[in-house]
């Protein structure tokens, strides 16, 4: 027999190469040894050994989000797979394309409670876009090719492939990737039609108080979508605001950009959302962090929603027009139609709208007073931005106050440069994510803006960073509190700070040194700039322990259960007790 049979494991690796995988993040174990054996021989895929499987998925997310490619993960059975679940859920919530290969006990042992057996497809079913358990070696290649198609098409998401060890060891005939797969794996066919585009374009042109609100879908659609969105904003000369996931889609320097909206968005963005007459949502999903109290959300506007996922339309907010499809195609059609109509119809004057918005801007909702020598966390981010804006800078964050301050005070001029856990809100996301980003962009400046509590959640990845000599800068806003928890306890629970103090912190400088990397510490505002400069100029990885004002709160804020027009700009504004409904909200 001279047929080209190879082992299942070799077929898996070959299929990954065919699907243009260059990097895989993983951790070996008993059930994936054949795959690791196949990787050993392979020169085309670089394996990055993480220190925890959750970190493998976050690293792949950072890689995927910063490149637009599919991120790839390899974990073993049982604990390897269960550890990956948080990462997979994170990727599902934020629509990040991930392929996760997990080992499984051999098929004849499935269901016997074998060593390191877990019902991985059962556990991961609700936290993946799709998953497979490969029971038939003949279907192996086809399943892998399909998985890449599923993960990257439509609304992207994670796909898990569970690979029993005997399948990895069996002989299979390699099947090539079919150049074009006919089936639409997302079932939601686009409904773009001229009539609809014309109606929406007319609506936007005739609006007196329009606003565009963009989200992460624009990033997923690719850089063209961001350019088209900016073009649309400039053509209409209308205000634009972005969600946490959408930051960078319109350059922060664009004069029409009002900053982020939502719970910690700017006053002008939220008030403009509340008072607009036409709202165009591009690639966002009316998340509860964005809408505030739903029955008071933008009460007098006509709403248009563009989304690739039909189920996002009318899910929480009823809209007047829903357009299903890839936002770059829809934006292109919309921009062309508006330019065409523009010659016939005059755009309504927005002078009054803009003067109203400028009036809101005058409240300076992101203003803060840097008094004394203590470093205000806001100032730390502002300085970091000022000193890094001439570099090709990628920012990752963990979750909490530091994340919101980063979103508020760091300016993003391009998409794909901002990696954060939005939907799931996973503390410990930023450090492993920065690993993936730095692997994808070895020459760029990658900074993990972190809080001391979040950093502790995945700090084992320092070891990965050191192993691969990744010059990641870890910028810890250290206030010795789980700051956002503390803030909510202050605002909603009578300042009873139950278990939110981060006790027994390590000495971060010594921690850095123990890994053989640089550690810096600063606690005086006068030394902040010098410290940031030093951090940037050091060639290797750095932990910068930025000791900030301990009880600073993150404002402006829409208190839970409140509406866009009920924002508070400081603690002094918080004179209303949170409603019972509000207390129940997260």
């Amino acid at each position: 027999m001279t047929l080209n049979y190879i082992s299942g494991a070799e077929a898996v690796i070959k299929a990954l190469v065919d699907n243009e995988v260059e990097v895989i993040f993983g951790y070996p174990g008993g059930a994936v040894l054949p795959l690791y054996d196949a990787l050993f021989e392979n020169k085309k895929i670089k394996h990055i050994l993480v220190r925890h499987e959750q970190a493998a998925v976050h690293a792949a997310e950072g890689y995927a989000r910063s490149t637009g490619k599919v991120g790839c993960v390899l974990v073993t059975s049982g604990p390897g797979a269960t550890n990956a679940i948080t990462g997979l859920t994170d990727a599902l919530m934020d629509s990040i394309p991930i392929i996760c290969l997990s080992g499984q006990v051999p098929t004849h042992l499935i269901g016997t409670d074998a060593f390191q057996e877990a019902d991985t497809t059962g556990i991961s079913r609700p936290c993946t876009k799709h998953n497979y358990l490969v029971k038939d070696a003949d279907k192996l290649c086809e399943i892998i090719h399909k998985s890449f198609e599923i993960a990257s098409s439509g609304r992207p998401g994670p796909v898990l492939i569970d690979l029993p060890k005997d399948i990895q060891l069996s002989n299979v005939k390699y099947v090539n990737k079919i150049s074009k797969i006919k089936k639409n794996y997302n079932n939601n066919s686009s409904n773009i039609d001229e009539n609809l585009i014309n109606k929406v374009a007319t609506l936007l042109l005739q609006a007196e108080r329009p606003i565009i609100y963009g989200g992460g879908g624009i990033v997923n659609s690719g850089p063209t979508a961001s350019k088209l969105l900016t073009e649309l904003v400039d053509t209409l000369d209308c205000p634009v605001t972005l969600t946490l996931m959408g930051l960078g889609c319109v350059p922060n320097t664009n004069k029409n950009f009002l900053g982020m909206l939502g719970m910690h968005g700017t006053y002008e963005a939220n008030l403009a959302m509340h008072n607009c007459d036409v709202m165009l949502n591009v690639g966002a999903r009316f998340d509860d962090r964005v809408t505030g109290r739903l029955n008071a959300f933008s009460p007098n506007s006509k709403k248009v929603h563009i989304d690739v996922d039909k189920s996002s339309i009318n899910k929480v907010v009823s809209v007047d027009y829903g357009i299903v499809g890839d936002c770059k195609e829809i934006l292109l059609a919309l921009v062309q139609e508006i330019k065409k109509l523009h010659n016939q119809k005059k755009i309504k004057s927005k002078t009054k709208w803009w003067s109203q918005i400028n009036h809101w801007k005058d409240r300076d909702s992101l203003g803060f007073k840097q008094i004394g020598n203590n470093i205000k966390p806001q100032q730390a981010i502002k300085s970091l931005y000022e000193q890094t804006k001439n570099f090709d800078t990628y920012i990752t964050t963990e979750v909490g106050q530091h994340q919101m301050w980063a979103a508020q005070y760091f300016g993003f001029s391009k998409p794909n440069h901002w990696m954060t856990s939005g939907g799931l809100g996973t503390m410990g996301y930023g450090l492993p994510s920065s690993v993936g980003v730095q692997i994808a962009h070895p020459k760029s400046l990658v900074i993990d803006i972190s809080g001391e509590a979040s950093f502790l959640m995945n700090m084992q990845e320092l070891s990965t960073i050191v192993q691969y000599k990744l010059p990641i800068k870890i910028f810890i806003l250290n206030n010795e509190w789980m700051g956002m928890v503390r803030q909510w306890q202050e605002l909603n629970h009578g300042s009873r700070y139950s278990e939110s103090y981060t006790a027994s912190l390590p000495d971060f400088v010594k921690l850095a040194e123990s890994f053989g990397i640089y550690g810096l510490r600063v606690d005086n505002i006068n030394n902040l700039e010098a410290t940031i400069d030093e951090m940037i100029n050091i060639k290797g990885p750095v932990i910068a322990d930025i000791r900030v004002e301990k009880e600073e709160n993150c404002f402006p804020m829409i208190p839970s259960g409140a509406a866009h027009n009920e924002m508070i700009l400081s603690s002094d504004d918080n004179n209303k007790d949170t409603s019972n409904e509000g207390l129940a909200l997260v």
Binding site: R125, K129, N188, N295, K310, S311, N314
Partner: protein
């Protein structure tokens, strides 16, 4: 309460019959059911069987209840599931037939045996099993007819019931052949 409080329109919840064509493979049913439990929707009746051996397809007939918004969400969410190919809302599409089969065991002695047989005959139930102290009846038809029959049987003696759940199909010459060919 804010001045912006909208008047909440109390929407009527109605019963809807959905007909799904899905891949006949392990996990598909779990995905469909997981969607309902995970997102807090109701399943009133569920029926699953293979319908196409060559293409390896199954049909899920499903009765759910909700406002029209909820039902639209359910349909869009179902379509996101990769092995779900077709989701049809039979209630919305037009006239359709809903049928169910019930097996009803009745433990009964004495005069009530005659009454049980008389009722069974009125309902056109078939008698599948007879002993001196029991019957097993088979009855098909609308769920409401089955309910009525079972209620009557319960008043005659100890019963045990097994029902298939609703199976449904649209009336007229409309078929899914074209949709199926696209799979």
């Amino acid at each position: 309460m804010s001045v912006y409080q909208k008047n909440e329109v109390v929407e009527v919840k109605t019963s809807r019959t959905l007909s799904l064509v899905v891949d006949n493979q392990p996990g598909t049913l779990a995905r469909v059911i997981g969607l309902f439990s995970g997102r807090g929707y109701n399943i009133e009746s569920l029926n699953v069987t293979e319908i196409d051996e060559i293409r390896n397809l199954s049909r899920i007939s499903l009765v759910t209840r909700g406002t029209s918004n909820t039902i639209e969400q359910i349909k869009s969410q179902l379509l996101r599931i990769v092995p779900v190919h077709i989701v049809r809302d039979l209630t919305l599409e037009g006239p359709f037939i809903k049928s169910e089969l019930a097996l009803v065991k009745l433990v009964v002695k004495g005069a009530n045996r005659v009454e049980a047989l008389r009722i069974a005959e009125t309902f056109r139930a078939r008698t599948l099993d007879v002993t001196l102290s029991s019957f097993v009846f088979e009855l098909t038809g609308k769920p409401s007819k089955l309910d009525a029959f079972i209620d009557l049987m319960r008043s005659l003696g100890d019963t045990e019931v097994s029902r298939t759940g609703v199976s449904a199909i649209s009336r007229g010459d409309k078929t899914e052949t074209k949709l199926l060919d696209q799979i």
